[in-house]
């Protein structure tokens, strides 16, 4: 038993996911506030280093049939067919790195938290463990345990350290995502019962799922599973119209938790799309007479445009940034519906890029909110001359968010539309509309989002920074060094991936290529 235990513990993935938990354990016994903060930040740094180690080991490790590496599997609850089954591929790796990078920034940004510190950091680290756990789980049971474990710390972090309406927001978050979880659970069980002998392995059940009939009676058809998984994960993304928990959660959550929520938690829904939804029900996507492709594509474009329009009308700064997230997640959903390898790649790119950019934006809003306790966009004006450093950083991040080429935000959007234009299904071949198809028409609506996004970002910059100074804020101080350095690494990555997109793409390209091949997506141009 001891040897198994040691084998279990020294496995890189387990080191990675349990490191935050160990840190949390230490924190439980520390008295000094300052020391608690140091240990918490130290733990996130250690976790980041562990993720780099995982990356290093990953590169040279052999892959199994499903393209996963660093696999570890032992039976767990045998009578149920449950196993402790972990492993990662390029997709999980990219998101693991995102999680560990952003969590350092969020931990440093947690300086603003000043009550019940110990509990806060314990929950914060528990959140990181659960996020990483979701990303390494290869067994549905384990996946679901970590998936639900995410809810718990999040619920308390918003509910205890949040703003005035924190109780409403946290309960809304909890209930909403719980409904999503119920849909997932039904889907998982339906899938499992269609072939109980397979157990709960995600990849193994995906193979089974692909053989299920596309339509028919009962739960175990690809179309039904598609709907359950799509809406189950969709709540987390969130897709319009199941998005209203997000602005409330963001507005009420403390700054670092908003960072984690936008940068990483939302990606769990989209990770579910890529990891589970697509591989498990490929037939639903292939059957173009079916509901899947039109539904997903339309939901994507609606989310894009709707989120951007609502963002433009927001008066609350954080709420605006939250709706911006909904809009950007819409791009991602649309990209997945294009049935192309490029679409998959675009979706991955957006996950990482939006993670970095949204974390920066929430941090920046928090910087001023800590000083003024005011989030009303109309309450400011003329801060540009007063806070030149802050202004410059906002221009950078704002431009990244509205998709300026040279920064990472551009590529995700661009690749999405290129993917849409390379799908030639349903093409009108003659008449006035020759050369048009479903994806191109949707794209034509989708690009309007680019203008609306530019509008709300530019409007925000004007309202906050330009015009004559609002004398009420004449004493405001510019960002401190720590506040700047909290996000400078994230900004560096935004710039790096903007100039050298291949640097990011190469992390997951092999996996998305294999996935696209399995799914029969468009790979080579035709």
């Amino acid at each position: 038993m001891l040897t198994e235990f040691i084998r279990f513990v020294v496995h890189p993935l387990h080191v990675l996911i349990f490191l935050p938990l160990v840190g949390a354990g230490f924190i439980a016994f520390i008295k000094h506030e300052k020391r608690i903060r140091q240990v918490a930040i130290g733990t996130t740094v250690a976790t980041f280093l562990a993720s780099l180690w995982v990356w290093k080991v990953f590169v040279s490790a052999p892959a199994d049939n499903y393209g996963f590496r660093l696999n570890y599997g032992v039976p767990w609850f045998k009578e149920l067919g449950v196993a402790w089954y972990t492993g990662i591929d390029g997709i999980s790796l990219a998101l693991i790195l995102l999680t560990t990078v952003v969590s350092i920034s969020a931990a440093i940004s947690s300086r603003s938290i000043d009550s019940k510190l110990r509990m806060y950091y314990i929950l914060f680290l528990l959140l990181i463990t659960s996020l990483l756990g979701v990303l390494v789980a290869r067994d549905y049971f384990l996946f679901f345990v970590f998936w639900e474990l995410m809810l718990l710390p999040m619920y308390f972090l918003i509910g205890i350290w949040g703003g005035k309406r924190r109780i409403y927001a946290s309960i809304k978050f909890f209930l909403y995502t719980l409904v999503g979880s119920v849909l997932l659970l039904i889907a998982i069980l339906a899938l499992h019962w269609s072939a109980p002998e397979i157990g709960f392995g995600i990849s193994q059940l995906a193979e089974k799922g692909a053989t299920l009939p596309i339509k028919g009676a009962g739960l175990a058809t690809q179309t039904t599973l598609f709907l359950l998984f799509f809406f189950g994960f969709g709540v987390k993304v969130p897709i319009v119209p199941f998005h209203t928990w997000l602005p409330d959660a963001h507005v009420q959550a403390p700054t670092p938790i908003s960072m984690m929520l936008a940068a990483v938690l939302l990606k769990m829904g989209t990770y579910g799309f890529v990891r589970i939804l697509l591989p498990t029900v490929p037939g639903a996507f292939h059957d173009l007479s079916g509901i899947a492709v039109p539904l997903v594509a339309t939901v994507g474009v609606v989310s894009m445009l709707y989120g951007a329009l609502v963002a433009m009308a927001q008066k609350d700064w954080k709420s605006m940034v939250a709706y911006s997230s909904i809009s950007h997640m819409g791009y991602l959903v649309f990209a997945l519906a294009t049935n192309t390898e490029l679409g998959l790649s675009a979706a991955m790119f957006i996950m990482i890029s939006h993670g970095l950019i949204s974390a920066c934006m929430f941090h920046l809003v928090g910087v001023i909110y800590e000083r003024t306790h005011n989030r009303n966009l109309l309450a400011y004006g003329g801060l540009g001359a007063l806070l030149p450093g802050y202004f410059t950083i906002w221009i950078f991040v704002g431009m990244a968010n509205l998709g300026l080429p040279g920064l990472s935000g551009f590529w995700g959007e661009f690749m999405t539309f290129v993917a849409a234009f390379s799908n030639h299904h349903w093409m009108v071949t003659s008449g006035l509309f020759a050369g048009m198809n479903f994806f191109r028409v949707l794209s034509a609506f989708g690009v309007i989002t680019i203008v609306v996004t530019a509008a709300y970002m530019i409007l925000m910059i004007q309202r906050i920074f330009m015009g004559p100074l609002n004398e009420k804020w004449a004493d405001l101080k510019d960002m401190t060094k720590t506040e700047k350095w909290t996000i400078i690494p994230l900004m560096a990555l935004i710039l790096l991936f903007g100039i050298w997109p291949q640097g990011l793409v190469s992390l997951y390209a092999e996996t998305t290529r294999a996935l696209a091949t399995n799914l029969g997506f468009l790979i080579a141009g035709s």
Partner: protein, 659 residues
């Protein structure tokens, strides 16, 4: 490996920007030096590339795998054909002149840096990043880098228009510029995507090869028009022109570089680069008519402006219309040669206007007059620029404008004579409004306050160079000189096309119209400047309604505001209301049904969460106090620990048991 000059040309200014942007406080005013030196090196390299091209050598550079898009691996390539090398010359020379000039302009009063403008260091960073983006765009052999440069230029333009962002007018102008051009950019993006959908490539050469196998109608024409939509935004064609006059809120040297000579010509360059999309009748006609109409429309508004920079701004819109019309009428050489000459004389005019503003501290021509005596060098140079713009031989503008008029004249058979008529009328108006400016500012008595300052030599120097460049390019524009038919510039830009020689009829009409405009302006304005009563003009009395309409820019801004901006924000407000009332309303309703669950959660929060918090505090306290206390024991604490242990043991025993 030898590093190609092509990559260095945009890279050097970009590095200057990279050094400036994060460290403005460190560099202080020295950013001017850094940025200017970088620009100087780029200029030398651009000249060398141009000379090599004249010698027949076309440079190229490529990097194969920039981004693997799955279907196509995207390379990044640069090339310098005739068109590009001319653009390189324009951009680097004007940018260098503007850099030097700006040192004087942005330094209010004191001998260089004595009393610099606030944010002086940033300003040069913006100039550097702009120049870099524009150079990358004209060098690119693929549409992605074109689009990237295009967008970054938009950002630089936004930052420079809003340079004095604490003024509301500047803030609004920068927003308007960014969003108006963004509408065009989206059209451009759709056009690029459509081309990709057809050819699976972003490389211009491949797209061209594809286009030449087709008749250019149908989807290809649609793609062309979408791309032209982008050009309309950037190059301020009717009705997307509204941002350019407002852009004059920026510092004048920046207007001179970005909003007169180079960036606004990017749309013209793009249409020229992708001219194979505009050869079919429908796109050609659309482009020609929009260009010609813009030329006449903007020239007529320029007549009625009092702000010297606005006159020049509308003049720029009008001249861009000429270029576009020339391209539409089928002559790339004509459009681009006019871009080339216009860049120099319009940059000169802006700099001279900047020198005036720097000296009298106002933009309003009603408060100028008689400046001839205070700043003779500026007067002389302004006059040179004006003559070039008015199309008077032997200045360069005559030759380039004549090429365009000739192209529309020749295209008259296929698309009607209307474009030529509009352009000729606009030529007359151009001479008229420019000499209106000359008389109002330089003649008669000084009507403003204070004593106008002399122009500092660091500003006159670059203007002198540009003044010389109002004449020198004429040499390569003279038909028959160094070329059998047409002129040398045309053969350099379009080596394989057929070029026309001089048409005496078209040329004489254009000279007559221009001279007529000048004489008319003299008749109306010279007496008024002498009497000092300039506000009682000629048109104000004879056609007051028309004058008011022209003064108010023919109400296009208001129309767009009413037709697009207000509906857009109303839609946003409406959707947000729907989101709050309907979508979230339903959610809350569902929530109320489940109110029992909420109650339980609240109870849980109160009792268990706070309980846990207190408990953990309590445990730590106990443990901290050491072993001394542990014997006394607390049952709940032990119980809690035992529960946790038990859970862990069960889970782990399951996991690691050999069974």
């Amino acid at each position: 490996m030898v590093i190609s000059p092509l990559i260095l040309i945009p890279l050097i200014p970009f590095l200057a920007f990279g050094l400036i942007a994060p460290f403005t406080r460190l560099w202080k005013e020295r950013t001017a030096l850094l940025s200017t030196i970088a620009m100087g090196v780029s200029t030398l390299l651009a000249i060398s590339v141009f000379v090599r091209k004249v010698g027949g050598e076309t440079l190229t550079w490529s990097q194969a795998d920039w981004l693997d898009l799955g279907h196509t691996t995207l390379g990044m390539g640069l090339q310098a054909d005739g068109l590009t090398s001319m653009m390189l010359l324009v951009v680097t020379i004007v940018s260098l002149c503007v850099h030097v000039y700006s040192v004087g302009y942005m330094d209010k009063g004191g001998k260089y840096f004595g009393h610099p403008e606030k944010n002086f260091p940033r300003y040069f960073g913006y100039l550097a990043v702009f120049t870099s983006a524009m150079l990358a765009m004209v060098l690119s052999d693929n549409l992605i880098l074109v689009f990237a440069g295009w967008e970054v230029m938009g950002l630089a333009s936004y930052l420079l228009i809003g340079f004095w962002f604490d003024k509301d007018s500047a803030a609004n102008a920068s927003k308007k510029a960014f969003l108006t051009t963004k509408v065009g950019d989206v059209s451009l993006l759709l056009g690029v995507l459509t081309l990709y959908g057809l050819t699976h490539s972003f490389e211009i050469a491949q797209i061209k090869a594809f286009a030449q196998t087709s008749d250019g109608n149908g989807i290809l024409a649609v793609a062309g028009l979408l791309i032209f939509g982008g050009a309309m935004g950037k190059s301020a064609q009717f009705f997307l022109h509204v941002w350019l006059p407002d852009a004059m809120e920026g510092p004048t040297p920046a207007s001179s570089l970005i909003h007169a000579a180079t960036m606004v010509a990017a749309g013209v360059y793009l249409v020229a680069r992708l001219h194979f999309l505009f050869e079919a009748p429908v796109p050609a006609t659309v482009v020609t008519y929009i260009g010609a109409f813009t030329a006449l429309f903007a020239a007529s508004i320029a007549v009625a402006q009092w702000d010297i920079k606005r006159v020049l701004a509308f003049s720029t819109i009008s001249q861009l219309g000429y270029m576009i019309a020339g391209l539409g009428a089928g002559s790339v050489a004509a459009g681009i040669f006019h871009l080339f000459t216009h860049a120099f004389f319009k940059a000169l005019l802006f700099m001279a206007a900047g020198a005036i503003i720097h000296s009298v501290h106002t933009n309003d021509m009603r408060e100028m007059g008689g400046l001839r005596k205070f700043m003779p060098a500026t007067f002389l140079l302004f006059l040179v620029g004006t003559l070039a713009l008015s199309g008077i031989p032997p200045f360069s503008g005559f030759f380039s404008k004549d090429e365009i008029l000739l192209a529309t004249w020749n295209a008259g058979q296929s698309m009607g004579m209307a474009p030529w008529v509009m352009l000729t009328l606009a030529a007359g108006l151009t001479a008229f409004y420019m000499f209106r400016v000359v008389y109002l500012t330089f003649f008669g008595a000084y009507r403003g306050k204070g004593h106008p300052k002399k122009t500092p030599s660091i500003m006159v120097g670059p203007m002198g160079l540009l003044g010389a460049l109002c004449i020198i390019p004429a040499l390569i524009g003279i038909p028959g000189l160094w070329a059998k038919t047409g002129n040398w510039a045309a053969h350099f830009i379009e080596p394989h096309a057929h070029h026309h020689g001089l048409n005496p009829l078209v040329a004489s009409i254009s000279i007559l119209v221009a001279v007529g405009g000048i004489l008319w302006a003299k008749r109306i304005f010279l007496p008024r400047t002498v009497s000092g009563n300039v506000t009682k003009g000629f048109f104000e009395e004879r056609a007051p309604a028309l004058w008011r309409a022209l003064e108010n820019r023919l109400y296009v801004d208001e129309a767009l505001q009413w037709a697009f901006v207000r509906p857009a924000s109303a839609v946003a407000e409406g959707v947000a209301l729907f989101d709050r009332k309907v979508v979230d309303g339903i959610v809350n309703l569902v929530g109320k049904v489940g109110v029992g669950i909420s109650e339980i959660s609240a109870f849980f929060d109160r009792v268990v969460v706070d309980g846990l918090v207190n408990l953990s505090g309590w445990i730590t306290k106990r443990l901290g106090e050491g072993v001394r206390r542990y014997q006394t024991g607390f049952a709940t604490g032990y119980l809690f620990l035992i529960l946790i242990m038990l859970g862990l043991v069960i889970a782990t025993q399951r996991l690691w048991s050999p069974l």
